[in-house]
Amino acid sequence: MAVLQKESIQRLAVLRALSMWQRGAYGPVRLQKTLFFADKDADPKWRLFSFKRWRLGQYSDEISDALNGLREMGRITCWYDGPAERLKAEISRKAQRQIASFFQSYFPEWRASLRSAFDTWAYLNNDTIIERAHDDPAYKTSDHGEVIFSSFESQVLEFEGMADETAENLSDLVDIRFQRGLQKRLASAVRRPAKGEDWRTIYFR
């Protein structure tokens, strides 16, 4: 059985969205709005993120959590390019294809509405994004801080037909402890002399 945690799916969704921008997303506001409209037009039972009304329009703490996690494990890089920062996904082409294929197979509606939201929102200037986000009925009919809609409830999802190997790869790709540990041990290993050991005596005597 192939299983993924909700948190992993959300991080994968953020990576999927970020990898659509050729040079990285120019500021988190456009990422938030692209993902909001992707979810808004997708199946309400399977929305990936919870959004609330906030000052700059619709905002999701879950996207911010995903961004913080991804940055911590080196999956996104941020740099300042003019007045805002660019956020860029750091994933191999193979991983990009694997993530795209995952959403195509298991969240096809979300994938289609992400494409449409990206085409509409991805390259607008910030003033226009904020103005249009404030004009949206979801914003107009809610109060500051009020939840507009919530993400799916389960913390863990089973995926029928998915290979175990694929589930493990996707999960490891966005596992903070795994990725941080790997990098920490590598940084340590590079400083040590490459010496062998008599593992037969250590484990099997």
Binding site: V3, E90, S92, A167, E168
Partner: protein, 113 residues
């Protein structure tokens, strides 16, 4: 012959070796294969490109040890040198149910933490 260093996962490999005779045999075979032909293990796809670029002489690979309800994963770095044989550092060894995320509580439990 490839040199093999398992010092990062000493405690974990001892626990794996003690889990059952079948697993012990599989662990032996895996370590022996790591020493003779590490390139025969599949690559680890989840390494960020920035990390891979920082260590161009390293290949990241994984090995599975599976016997009945016991399933484990080994993650290792294979260093390649111009003037000597390869070196392998086993960076991770942990229990894992096939197709599931890593259960870090189970990993900590294995280490008695």
């Amino acid at each position: 012959m490839v040199t093999l260093d398992t010092s990062y996962v000493r405690q974990q490999l001892r626990a794996i070796a003690d889990s059952s005779n079948a697993v012990r045999k599989l662990l032996y075979d895996t370590l022996e294969r790591l020493e003779t032909d590490p390139s025969s293990f599949p690559p680890l796809d989840s390494v960020p490109p920035t990390v891979a670029a920082r260590y161009p002489s390293v290949s990241f690979r994984k090995a599975k040890i599976e016997s009945g309800r016991h399933t484990y994963r080994l993650v290792f770095a294979q260093w390649q040198f111009k003037d000597r044989d390869d070196h392998v550092d086993v960076l991770y060894a942990f229990p894992r149910r096939s197709g599931y995320p890593i259960d870090w509580d189970e990993v900590d439990e294995m280490l008695g933490q």
